[in-house]
């Protein structure tokens, strides 16, 4: 009898777990329209203010002008070239920074000795602003692709490493006992306990890292590149094309939103036991 009740509870729980959707949430809240309309309202006020001359259009061009420029840049293919260049660097920066951080982080979480050795180095280098090492990276890696990729990789490395170590340390000891008792070898402990157990915090680290990556790639491209969104904005400043600068800002903001959506979805897939609780 009690079991039947528990089983029905369990089913309810599952329904709740899979039934969540953003649309339903917004619909229920009744604040849905305000939510969608407020940015448009702001754009509208901006447009009117620009046309009536209440704001200086040399600094704040009308939104219609910005979107016109954006459309031109899309049609000429210029925007796509810069977007592609930035995405390429972000991707390889993520690979070269994120994967070593993940592997080192899990190893550090599992090995006290490794932690004792590496932790002081991390603590000493972490507070250095990543933007401050850009000149050094340009010096070492030159003006080509490598310096930009390294810049992103270095920025991503720390938040992912630090969160991964914390994630492994947070796993209750009993799970490691279980793995050992059921004959899991080192690699299997890594794969079946440490990695999935640390995944919630790893995802937090990845989200922080990607945000930081966007900042650093814009910065690196402004100083030492001939392509990319950062270069496009810097170049726009030099030729006084204010609209193009705004287009760059909009595209970067848009990328941030898209990455966040993708990472949230990835988190739902990788951490199904935590995100829906």
């Amino acid at each position: 009898m009690t079991d039947a009740i528990q089983q029905s509870k369990a089913i309810e729980g599952k329904g709740r777990a899979t039934g969540f959707s953003l649309a339903a949430y917004l619909k229920n809240s009744g604040e849905r329209w305000m939510n969608i309309l407020s940015p448009f309202a702001l754009l509208l006020i901006w447009e009117i203010a620009a046309r009536l001359g209440y704001i200086d259009t040399r600094f704040f061009p009308a939104p219609s002008k910005i979107f016109e420029t954006m459309w031109t840049l899309i049609l000429s293919g210029e925007l796509f070239i810069h977007l592609k260049a930035s995405m390429y660097r972000l991707f390889w920066g993520f690979m070269w920074g994120g994967i070593p951080a993940l592997l080192l982080g899990i190893s550090m979480g599992l090995s006290r000795t490794l932690r004792v050795i590496v932790e002081p180095i991390v603590s000493a280098t972490y507070p250095i602003p990543k933007s401050a090492i850009l000149p050094l990276i340009l010096l070492i890696f030159g003006l080509g692709e490598a310096s930009k990729i390294v810049m992103v990789a270095v920025g991503l490395f720390y938040p992912i490493l630090i969160n991964t170590v914390a994630g492994v340390l947070e796993i209750p000891k009993i799970h490691f006992d279980v793995a050992q008792n059921f004959g899991a070898k080192k690699l299997n402990v890594f794969r079946t306990v440490a990695l999935p157990g640390a995944m919630p915090l790893i995802m937090t680290g990845v989200k922080l890292g990607v945000g930081l990556g966007l900042i650093l790639i814009s910065l690196a491209e402004m100083i030492g590149a001939k392509s990319g969104l950062g270069y496009m904005m810097w170049n726009a400043w030099e030729i006084l094309s204010v609209e193009t600068m705004y287009v760059g800002l909009i595209v970067i903001a848009f990328l941030g939103v898209i990455f966040n959506l993708i990472l949230n979805e990835l988190e739902r897939m990788l951490v199904p036991w935590k995100t829906n609780r």
């Binding site: 369990a10 009993i174 006992d177 059921f182 070898k185 999935p196 036991w273």
Partner: protein
């Protein structure tokens, strides 16, 4: 009148290396080095557990029972004495442990949790499907195989633990107060389920509990341990025949008498444990 035979299994002769003995401890001790000096968790335990015996250990909390089980599971080392465990002779694992509290991996489904030991032993997919399917069915969890532990009740979670341990077909089952966190109804159901599954396999079991009722209901032999440091206070054979039905067994007058007699041993130790606690607190 049920006869009590204290130390029925205690202090056996060292020479008889009978093949029917699964676990053989001689003067086994565990001393932890702490900042306040050595702390004796287990003091000179000597006993044999025959093959197929359902061996219960009862004792007040803090008497080192969990430490003893962890030593047998190979999760911790003993500091003195000897421990011999007869290997299974084939490729099966020597032991599997059912832990106290939540030991399921929260990131794995019921199915993956139950299959864990088999996957770690590189069993074939077909074999895993058969065995895990069997135990999930035996424990009534077939419908919940794709659920995650947090979607299950405590009783269901402990059933998954039991399935996981039985699935690897271990030579010895080590159980560390597996039902202590459950409510009375669930405890009873799970005890019955455990007895039913055990009757099919007749594995050697070492089961730790603080409940005398549970010890008498499930066990063939009960060792009462002393409060800190853990010593063998008395070892008593349980006279009730198998297969047992939990409720019917508990309704018998001899059952009550037997439980009462064991309580008398334990009572002294519980009182002593409390006196020790109060002494150290003041």
């Amino acid at each position: 009148m049920t006869t009590l035979a204290p130390n029925a299994g205690g202090a056996p002769a060292d020479s008889a290396a009978s093949p029917d003995i699964k676990i053989r401890l001689r003067n086994l001790s565990k001393i932890f080095e702490t900042k306040k000096g050595p702390f004796v968790a287990i003091d000179s335990l000597t006993f044999d557990i025959p093959k197929g015996c359902f061996f219960m250990i009862v004792g007040p909390s803090g008497c080192g029972k969990t430490t003893l089980l962890r030593i047998l599971a190979g999760l911790e080392n003993h500091t003195h004495g000897t421990m011999e465990i007869t290997p299974p002779g084939d490729n099966r694992p020597s032991n599997s442990m059912i832990f106290q509290g939540d030991s399921l991996f929260p990131w794995m489904t019921v199915w993956d949790n139950a299959a864990y030991g088999l996957v770690m032993r590189n069993k074939s997919r077909g074999e895993i499907n058969d065995i895990v399917g069997h135990y999930l069915q035996r424990t009534g969890l077939s419908k919940f195989k794709d659920y995650y532990p947090h979607q299950l009740s405590g009783g269901m979670r402990q059933r998954v633990s039991i399935s996981r341990a039985f699935a690897t077909d271990p030579d010895i089952l080590l159980m560390d107060e597996p039902f202590s966190a459950l409510d009375e109804q669930n405890k009873l159901l799970l005890q019955e389920e455990l007895l039913r599954i055990w009757d099919e396999t007749k594995k050697t079991v070492m089961f730790i509990t603080h409940s005398v009722d549970e010890a008498v209901t499930l066990g063939d032999r009960i060792m009462v341990m002393t409060a800190h440091p853990g010593r063998d206070k008395a070892t008593i054979d349980v006279p009730f025949e198998r297969p047992r039905k939990v409720l019917e067994l508990r309704a018998r007058p001899e059952y009550g008498e037997f439980v009462y007699n064991i309580w008398k041993y334990l009572r002294e130790e519980v009182d002593r444990a409390r006196a020790l606690d109060e002494g150290s607190a003041s």
